[in-house]
């Protein structure tokens, strides 16, 4: 493997990691702040991709998909918290696991009823449709770089919000101690509603943005779900910076694993996850309580 292609694989790894981070960040919010295990995470990602498909098909404009995804994601999240998750308060993780498993089945079948079973593509918006040549055989699609940029902006924005803003403070307080947060006058119920809505909106948005890259087809969320879990566990549940580290690690294992041990790439990913859990049960990055 030449140095040049080593760097191309590195770029692949980072690019994939940033997409993974986008996808996993919503799950981190739900898992870290609310302690909710959401298996339907991949299904929400798929919802995002289908929103992108439907909006582009209807209006022919990719940029409309972003607000559409955010709004629908927020609404979906709020509804799910209000009518389902809030009823589980005090219940154990088993109920969450099963509730979200039920949601997967409902969302998947709903998608089939509405959109059918054919795979679909979403055109990359014109302005980003170019490619940057890297070698005489290979070029890099600008859209992938755009997704990277979105990922980086997202990391900075969410990091600032969590660290500096009042909302971030409220979130961290609610995550750490429900009763204490209540005593401090924080409306925990509202915080939870907000977190679920934002967490699911993040996931839906990730699906929207990934749609032109990933194509749109039934069951597309399945792999994303498990990989998001891996990312989060590697990084440490609830830590956004940890999720970034986890994403990078997974991106590297994926890109180079496929180069050197294609049959064992996925196997390596889970082995790494288990190894990290054995050695550092709290993940690679120590959570700051969020």
């Amino acid at each position: 493997m030449s140095t040049f292609f080593f760097f191309v694989q590195l770029l692949n790894a980072i690019q994939y990691a940033l997409i993974l981070y986008l996808v996993a960040s919503g799950l981190t919010l739900l898992l870290g702040i609310m302690g909710v295990i959401n298996l339907a995470h991949g299904a929400f990602y798929m919802v995002g991709a289908y929103i992108a498909f439907a909006v582009v098909q209807q209006f022919g404009n990719f940029w409309l998909t972003l607000p559409a995804g955010i709004l629908i994601g927020l609404a979906l999240g709020a509804l799910i918290e209000k009518f389902l998750l809030s009823r589980l308060e005090g219940a154990d993780h088993l109920s969450q696991v099963l509730l979200s498993f039920g949601l997967i089945l409902l969302i998947n079948e709903g998608q089939r009823l509405i959109f059918g079973n054919d795979p679909h593509g979403v055109e990359v918006p014109k302005i980003l449709a170019a490619s940057i040549p890297l070698s005489n055989t290979l070029s890099y699609p600008v859209y992938r770089l755009f997704v990277c940029a979105v990922g980086i902006v997202f990391i900075i924005a969410i990091g600032l919000i969590m660290a500096k803003s009042r909302i971030g403070m409220m979130l961290r307080a609610s995550a750490e101690n429900r009763d204490m947060a209540r005593a401090m006058g924080i409306d925990v119920k509202f915080v939870y509603l907000g977190v679920t809505a934002v967490g699911i909106a993040c996931t839906v948005l990730a699906g929207v943005i990934a749609a032109p890259l990933a194509s749109v087809y039934p069951g597309m969320g399945d792999q994303v779900l498990i990989q998001s879990f891996v990312v989060i566990v590697l990084g440490g549940i609830g830590s956004l910076s940890g999720a970034l580290v986890g994403s990078l690690l997974l991106g590297l294992v994926d890109a180079f694993g496929k180069q050197f041990f294609p049959n064992y790439a996925a196997f390596l990913v889970y082995a790494a996850m288990i190894a990290v859990l054995i050695v550092r049960p709290q993940g690679l990055v120590r959570s700051r309580g969020t």
């Binding site: 295990i37 589980l88 089945l105 879990f229 549940i237 996925a266 859990l277």
Partner: protein, 322 residues
């Protein structure tokens, strides 16, 4: 578990055992095969219920033990004739239990969410082992050409015919369910419950929650393996999907629908869910909507499960005894 629920549990189990004993005499053809499938799944659900209930371990990786045992049978089966049932079953069950020991030894150190994620990771590890690496036939799965035979001293017993295979399944599942029922009522079961409800206190009583949970996990894993073995023998086919987390989650659904705090609950959950699936499938191609709704409604409306729910209906109206 309170005394009334325990009585209901016992009554349900007895009812199920008697009803299931009639299957080969009342049903025929496809129905016997369906009953066989359901009985095996009921056994799996009861075994899983034993760790989810008393041991308080929400394992989303039990399908891995089930699948590993199935693969062991597939890999040990000769292409030209039936395998020796006692030998292959012993190795398959032992293999599943050994895998459960490894998974449990690592996972049970973590609790709650981390335990769930650990078991998912181990399950996926097993899935990818068979799906990606080519061990045991890749993603296409692999075959058991002949149903294993039981070699006794005086004769060989073949289970090719559906009613006889059903009887084998009945006996094995009867033993598994019976063992789970007995273990729940035993002092060991009480220690598990105590560890679930007050870990520190149980430790201060001289028991290691880790060790008792691990024992329960390994027993349950071995039982799940027995069910996987039967499934492989029944269908003559194994595939990596048998190990994936979907399968584990589906088994958990059975446990929850019936009620994790009873032995009969998971079995009843398995029967209801698989019958619902069978009926919905004939009715609509979007039958998964039905299954999804059943799950969501069950989680919200009867989170403790059907058996405790039914037992509750018969509860005397006054509040608590005491």
């Amino acid at each position: 578990m309170n005394a009334r629920l325990e009585k209901f549990d016992g009554a349900f189990l007895l009812l199920l055992a008697v009803a299931a004993a009639f299957v080969p005499f009342v049903l025929s053809g496809y129905e016997i095969k369906l009953a066989t499938t359901i009985t095996i799944q009921a056994g799996l659900a009861v075994a899983l219920g034993f760790v989810v209930g008393p041991a308080g371990l929400t394992s989303v990786g039990h399908a891995a033990f089930y699948g590993v045992a199935a693969y062991i049978l597939a890999m040990m089966s000769p292409k030209s004739g039936p395998a020796d049932m006692l030998l292959t079953a012993a190795i398959a069950i032992f293999g599943a239990a050994a895998f459960a020991l490894v998974v449990g030894a690592v996972s049970i150190r973590s609790r709650g969410m981390y335990f769930i994620l650990m078991t998912i990771a181990f399950g996926q590890l097993g899935y990818h082992l068979f799906n990606d690496t080519g061990i045991g036939g890749k993603s296409d799965g692999s075959y058991v050409q002949f149903r294993p035979e039981l070699h006794l001293f005086w004769t060989d017993v073949s289970f090719d015919k559906a009613p006889r295979f059903y009887m084998l399944v009945y006996v094995v599942v009867f033993l598994v369910v019976g063992a789970c029922w007995w273990l729940r009522r035993s002092a060991f079961g009480s220690v598990l419950l105590a560890a679930r409800d007050n870990e520190a206190r149980t430790r201060a009583f001289g028991f290691s929650p880790y060790v008792v949970r691990l024992i329960a996990f390994v027993i349950s894993g071995g039982m799940a393996g027995a069910m996987g073995y039967l499934t492989a023998a029944q269908h003559g086919f194994v595939a990596p999907q048998m190990l994936a987390w979907h399968a584990s989650a589906f088994a958990l659904v059975m446990v929850l629908i019936g009620g994790k705090d009873t032995t009969s609950g998971p079995a009843i959950g398995a029967i209801l869910l698989l019958l619902a699936e069978e009926i919905l499938q004939r009715w609509t191609e979007h039958w998964l909507v039905g299954v999804g709704l059943i799950i969501v409604v069950a989680v919200i409306a009867a989170p403790r499960g059907l058996v405790p729910f039914v037992a509750g209906l018969f509860a005397p109206k006054q509040a608590h005894h005491g």
